[in-house]
Each structure stands twice: as structure tokens, then as C-alpha cells.
């Protein structure tokens, strides 16, 4: 659904629409479309995608547990998500929300009341996210197999753990912020409403106190997936295991202290701007540690260009671009120019779509044979990966250029000189959409007609590969015990040498 909204946006922007009513959609409709694209993708897809879809399956297996610690809570978190999503769809039907996914006040106070419904939806989905995080923390603490100490945990677990801490600590603040926004509609509490003596910038502070950590809630699990995929398909222990583990934790900590970088143009003290800018640079350090460690892991490994690995390589390229452009935006004077332009749009799509979604695809391709016990088409998965990689870059790279030239985000019309970039971007979006369509196609085919997969399809050495494919009800035939170090491929290498 979020993807269809995205394609609608791109179609609308094929023409410059110098006369606003000429476009495919009315400008108000356009506003609703991009709001829903943002809100759906962020709250209903990217945040729950990797923890919800992969975490729930992979985490207990990698820990050697029979299930997550609190399965009923887990189910309730799914129901909350479902109810939230239904409410959000209700908000569309009831009149649509056109505030942008950030619901900035005071605009969100005075527009249509369907914001109340959308706020309630995101509030519920927030609780779903909290419960998932809470459950994972408890599972990691209490349900590890005997012998599986903290520094023998796969890095996917470390990443999910750091994510869970963020979910548990940051999401309640979003909850109360949206609740206050709803109260603002219901009885005009006034704290975000300048007409009643309130301060709309406070909303931004409270919103970004959640939503910046949320960016890491989105990307950290993808980083965890990539760590696991790269080591397995390079047949080499991860370079700097402890550094990657600690970098996940330090990203989680620092991410609480950088929210002000979304607000460089909102009015903050110069000292705050300086501090937020510095801390934003600082978050680049653990991020770079991860990238260097991944590259060093690939170096001199026995690389197998399997499909998950192709996605992981695509992730490395896209994430490096996305991460570095983030540093541009942390520079105060440069941000004044780039703020609210397509440069920002391109940056966060490189990180969210290009990195998180591609990380998710890498993970799904990596663990699909494990969980469904079926293999998928190698040929078509390569075609899809290529289309996604090319389509993605064609869509979003031109947006960096037009952003740097001053194209503002969220506008339904633009000046004619931007047209070639916009058209290129639209073409890319459809190539990307085609890639994803092909992926859905071969996964469906695999589901119904796939060949049975081996117990250890890729030669991984973490616990999940010791369980049958697909795993039985309580995950393992007998309770696993962990021996030795993490990511130790020495016995696998010996086997391969002897062949």
C-alpha cells in the first residue's frame, strides 16, 4: 500500500504542474498521498519489518530457545499492530490526513479531525513496538542456551537487542506526544498551540526525541542481518566482532542525543545547534566501524555470490552513500541550505528504503530456506536484486542533485528545469517496483512449488542452522548446548578442503 502511494507520487511528479490543478491529483490529495506513504512506510512497515518478521523467527532459534520469552505478549503485539493499521486505513476513509508523517503542530491541530484517528493508530502501533522490544530483551537475557555467553551471541542478536532498548525507552514518549496532540483536538490543552499560549516547537522536540531513535530502530536490525549474512557467505569470522557489538550499543545510546538535528531551522539556541551537530557527527563513528568491519570481513574471504550476499553487497554500497550524505546534513550551514529539500528525501530513502528494506530482503533470502524448508529460483532472484539495485539508485540519486539545486520536498508542483530529474526518478521507481513484483512472484512460486531445502543451506555456524528446516514446534529436536567461539568456520573449511 505504501509502495502504491509512492508510485502515485512519482506519477504525479512526471509533469511540473506549473498550474497546480493540472496535475494528476489535486494538491490537497497529493498532500494526503505523501502523508500516507510516509506514515504507512515508517510506522507500519519499516519499524516492525525486521524485528517483527525476522526477529520473532530468528532470535529464539539463534539463542537455542523454544520460543520468545512471552509468546502471548507477542501475539497481543501483533493484534495491536493490526488494529492500529485498521484505524489508519479508517483515517484515510474518514477524510485523509495531510500533515506529513511528522504531524507537525500547529497545522495538525487545526486541520481535519481524522488526525485523531491516525494519532490513535500510531499510538497503538507504538505499544505493539514496545511489547516486541520488551519481549526480545527478556528473551536474550533469560532464554539463552547453556554455554551461549554474551560475546558468543550472533551479531543479529546484538543488533536486535540494541533496537529493543530503543523501542522500550523511546516509543512511550511518542505515545504521550500523540496523546497530547489528540487532547489538543479534544479539549485544546494548549501546550502545542501558540494561540493558547503554547509552543509548537515543543511538539517537534518531543516528536524527534522518539523519531530520531526510531531511525535507528529501523536501521540497526538491518545492520544485524548484514553482519550475519556477510560472515556466512564469506566463510570468515566477522572482523572486529566485539567492536560491531559495542557499536550497536553506542549507536543506540548516542541516538537519544541527536534529535535536535532535525530542527536546525526551527529555532534553537546556538549552543544546542552546535552540540546536536557535534553529536550527529559522533554517531558516524560507530556506524563507520561497522562498515569497515564488514568490508574487512569480505576481504580474503571465500565469497559465495549467493542471493543474500548480493543483497548484502547492495546494502553496503547504498548504505555508505546514505550514511555519508547524513554527515553533509549534520553540517550546520550546509543544512540551512539543504533543509526540507529533496536532498533530505534522498538521504533518508537511501538509509530507510535502500538500507533497511534491502537488509530485510537480504535476511529474508538468507533465512527463507530455513523457515519454509523450500528453495527459491536463483535466476529470478538475481534478476530482481539487479532491478531493485538499479531502480533504487535511478530513483533516488537524481533527488540528491535536484535537492542540492534547491528543489523543496512535499511540493505538488515544481519549476520546469527539474523535470528531467523528476522523470528519471519516476522511471527508476517503476523499475524498482518491477523488481519487487518479481521477488513476490518467485517467493510465491517457492512457497507452493519450491524444492526442499537442506538443514544448513548456506553453511552457517550459528544455532539456527542446527535445527531442521523448517524448524519443529519447539524449534529443536533436543535442547541445544553451545560449544566454542562464535562464527568459527574452521571445521567447515576442513570439510570443504577434504572434498
Amino acid at each position: 500500500m505504501g509502495g502504491v502511494f509512492a508510485l502515485m507520487i512519482r506519477l504525479h511528479l512526471w509533469n511540473p504542474n506549473t498550474n497546480p490543478t493540472d496535475g494528476l491529483f489535486e494538491p490537497d490529495t497529493y498532500n494526503q498521498i505523501f502523508t500516507l506513504h510516509g506514515a504507512f512506510m515508517v510506522f507500519m512497515f519499516i519499524i516492525p519489518a525486521i524485528p517483527g518478521a525476522l526477529g520473532n523467527l530468528v532470535l529464539p532459534l539463534q539463542l537455542g530457545a523454544k520460543d520468545v520469552a512471552l509468546p502471548r505478549l507477542n501475539l497481543s503485539s501483533f493484534y495491536l499492530w493490526l488494529i492500529g493499521t485498521i484505524l489508519a486505513v479508517g483515517a484515510i476513509v474518514w477524510g485523509g490526513v495531510d500533515t506529513g508523517w511528522t504531524f507537525y503542530t500547529p497545522y495538525s491541530i487545526y486541520n481535519d479531525r481524522s488526525v485523531i484517528l491516525m494519532g490513535a493508530a500510531v499510538f497503538l502501533i507504538g505499544f505493539s513496538s514496545i511489547f516486541t522490544g520488551l519481549n526480545f530483551i527478556v528473551t536474550v537475557h533469560k532464554l539463552r542456551a547453556p554455554g551461549l555467553t554474551w560475546f558468543r551471541l550472533p551479531l543479529f542478536i546484538w543488533a536486535i537487542y540494541a533496537t529493543s532498548v530503543l523501542q522500550v525507552l523511546a516509543t512511550p514518549v511518542l505515545g504521550i506526544t500523540l496523546l497530547l496532540l489528540v487532547f489538543e483536538h479534544v479539549y485544546g490543552i494548549g501546550i502545542f498551540d501558540p494561540q493558547l499560549g503554547g509552543d509548537p516547537v515543543l511538539f517537534q522536540h518531543m516528536f524527534w526525541f522518539y523519531s530520531h531513535p526510531a531511525v535507528y530502530i529501523m536501521i540497526l536490525p538491518a545492520m544485524g542481518v548484514i553482519s550475519d549474512v556477510i560472515t556466512v557467505h564469506s566463510r570468515k569470522p566477522l572482523f572486529g566482532y566485539k567492536m560491531i557489538a559495542f557499536s550497536s550499543i553506542s549507536i543506540a545510546v548516542i541516538s537519544f542525543l541527536v534529535w535536535g538535528h532535525h530542527m536546525f531551522t526551527s529555532g534553537q539556541s546556538e549552543f544546542a545547534m552546535f552540540a546536536f551537530s557535534f553529536l550527529t557527527f559522533f554517531v558516524g563513528v560507530p556506524t563507520a566501524i561497522k562498515v569497515f568491519s564488514w568490508v574487512a570481513t569480505i576481504w580474503q574471504g571465500s565469497i559465495i555470490l549467493s542471493n543474500p550476499m548480493l543483497y548484502a553487497l547492495a546494502f553496503l554500497i547504498i548504505f555508505t552513500i546514505g550514511g555519508l550524505t547524513g554527515i553533509f546534513l549534520a553540517i550546520l550551514n550546509l543544512d540551512i541550505h539543504l533543509h526540507d529539500t529533496y536532498f533530505v528525501v534522498a538521504h533518508f530513502h537511501y538509509v530507510m528504503m535502500g538500507s533497511t528494506a534491502v537488509g530485510l530482503f537480504a535476511g529474508v533470502h538468507h533465512w527463507w530456506p530455513k523457515f519454509l524448508g523450500k528453495t527459491y529460483s536463483r535466476f529470478w532472484s538475481r534478476v530482481a536484486c539487479a532491478l531493485i539495485f538499479i531502480g533504487f539508485n535511478v530513483t533516488f540519486f537524481p533527488q540528491f542533485i535536484m535537492g542540492a539545486q534547491g528543489m523543496p520536498r512535499r511540493y505538488a508542483s515544481y519549476m520546469e528545469e527539474y523535470q528531467p530529474y523528476h522523470q528519471l526518478s519516476t522511471i527508476g521507481a517503476f523499475v524498482l517496483g518491477l523488481g519487487i513484483l518479481i521477488m513476490v512472484g518467485y517467493f510465491l512460486h517457492s512457497l507452493f512449488a519450491g524444492k526442499p531445502a537442506a538443514r544448513n543451506q548456506w553453511g552457517g555456524v550459528t544455532l539456527e542452522w542446527q535445527s531442521p528446516s523448517p524448524p519443529p514446534l519447539e524449534n529443536f529436536d533436543e535442547d541445544p548446548v553451545w560449544v566454542g567461539e562464535v562464527y568459527d568456520y574452521s571445521h567447515l573449511k576442513a570439510e570443504e578442503m577434504s572434498r
Binding site: A65, K66, D67, A69, L70, P71, L73, I130, L134, N135, I137, V138, T139, H141, K142, L143, V168, L169, A170, T171, P172, V173, G175, I176, T177, L179, L180, F183, E184, Y187, G188, I189, G190, I191, L196, G197, G198, D199, L202, M206, F209, E474, D479
Partner: protein, 231 residues
């Protein structure tokens, strides 16, 4: 987790319903510790949630210090103190109730928990009188703020009074909701406790309801001075 050393024991004492450990746990200690940790984390989320409200409070206290002083004077510190005393006592009875559950003293446990619920009810009754008094003076939250007579004079020339009462009703309202949820939880514990489900081998739910009740108490301990006694 000061009571981390007090772990549930087996076997079930005579006259109680034995507890079955969920199938995915290896032992009842693992189950107990998992739930306990989960609940402490949940309490952390509650504190973050109220933390957002406290942050809003401090921002506007800073913007309108005089209004908040006058606003605090409109609240009845005697009623507030009474409620503080009630909550503190109920927290004490709850702690005794948890202790009684750990030692399998069913009658004591039920008595203490009933006393706790009575405390919750008393708190809500006092709150009801406070709210109706405010409404009768026109001290409504936010946009509906419309003080009568002497109350209008008190706030003459001061802006932000609507925000003070907006925050007052929002913070105490959300807290009151927590009181009701806590009381509901304890009532449920009473019902199941009467059926003999809680004993030295399984007192986790009582323990958790107790933790929740202490949180409700603790948040009030911060709300009371901030709202009623602001300098």
C-alpha cells in the same frame, strides 16, 4: 529487584492450586525471572511516558512561573496531602499482601489486598470532589478554561493559566486512569487468590500487581509537590 533472592519454591503447599509452567520454559524459576524482568522494563516505559508530561510541565513552568504559582494555590493542598497519605498506606498494605502471598498466608493476603483496593477507591473519591470543585469554579482544562469571579481575579493579567489546568487535568487524569487499572488488577488477584492460585510456589502475578501499584504511588509522589506545592 531487592527481592531477587526470594524465588518461588516447589512443591505447592497443601490446599493450593499447583501452577503449571508454560511449555517453552525450562523451569519455573526461568519463567518467574523472565516475567519479572519484563515487568520492570514495562515500568521503565511508564516512566518515559510520564517523563514526556513532566518535560512539558517544566517547559511551561519556566515560561509562566507566576501563573503556575497562582495555579498551585487554587488546588487544595489538604486534599492532595490526604490522597498522598492514602496512596502511601495502600502501597504499604500491598507490600504486606505480596509478602503474605510468598508465605502462603491466604487470609492475610486477601485482607491486605482488599485494604489496598479500598485505598484506591478512597483516592478516586477525593479526586472526584477535587475535580467537581474545579469545574464549579470554571477551572476547565485548556480551551474551555473560563474562571468565575474570584478565580478570574486571581489569574488577572496572567497568561498560561489554561495551560496550567490543561496539564493538571491531563497529568492527574492519566494518573487516575492508572489508579483504576491498578485497582482492577488487584481485584483480579483477589478473585484468583481466593481460589487458592497464589502461594509460595507461584506468587508472580501478585508480585507484578504490587510493582505496578508502587509505580502508581511513586508517580503521585512527584505529581503532588509539582502541582499542589509549586513555589
Amino acid at each position: 529487584m531487592s527481592d531477587g533472592h526470594a524465588l518461588p519454591t516447589t512443591p505447592t503447599p497443601a490446599g493450593f492450586v499447583p501452577h503449571e509452567v508454560a511449555h517453552h520454559y525450562n523451569s519455573h524459576v526461568q519463567e518467574y525471572q523472565s516475567w519479572k524482568l519484563a515487568f520492570w522494563l514495562f515500568l521503565a516505559t511508564e516512566i518515559m511516558l510520564f517523563g514526556g508530561l513532566f518535560a512539558a510541565y517544566f517547559v511551561y513552568h519556566d515560561l509562566y512561573p507566576e501563573t503556575f504559582r497562582v495555579g498551585g494555590q487554587q488546588l487544595d493542598w489538604r486534599m492532595g496531602s490526604l490522597n498522598t497519605a492514602i496512596l502511601l498506606c495502600s502501597s504499604f498494605t500491598m507490600a504486606l499482601g505480596v509478602r503474605a502471598a510468598q508465605t502462603s498466608e491466604k487470609g492475610k493476603m486477601l485482607t491486605y489486598m482488599i485494604l489496598t483496593v479500598a485505598g484506591a477507591a478512597g483516592f478516586m473519591v477525593v479526586k472526584y470532589f477535587e475535580y467537581t470543585a474545579k469545574f464549579s469554579h470554571g477551572l476547565f482544562p485548556g480551551a474551555y478554561f473560563n474562571p468565575h469571579g474570584a478565580y478570574a481575579d486571581a489569574f488577572a493579567g496572567l497568561s498560561g493559566a489554561n495551560i496550567f489546568f490543561g496539564l493538571y487535568f491531563t497529568m492527574t487524569g492519566i494518573h487516575g486512569l492508572h489508579v483504576l487499572i491498578g485497582a482492577g488488577l488487584i481485584l483480579w488477584m483477589i478473585k484468583r487468590g481466593a481460589a487458592g492460585r497464589y502461594h509460595s510456589g507461584h506468587y508472580l502475578p501478585v508480585d507484578i500487581a504490587g510493582l505496578y501499584w508502587h509505580l502508581v504511588d511513586l508517580i503521585w509522589i512527584f505529581l503532588f509537590p509539582l502541582l499542589y506545592l509549586v513555589p
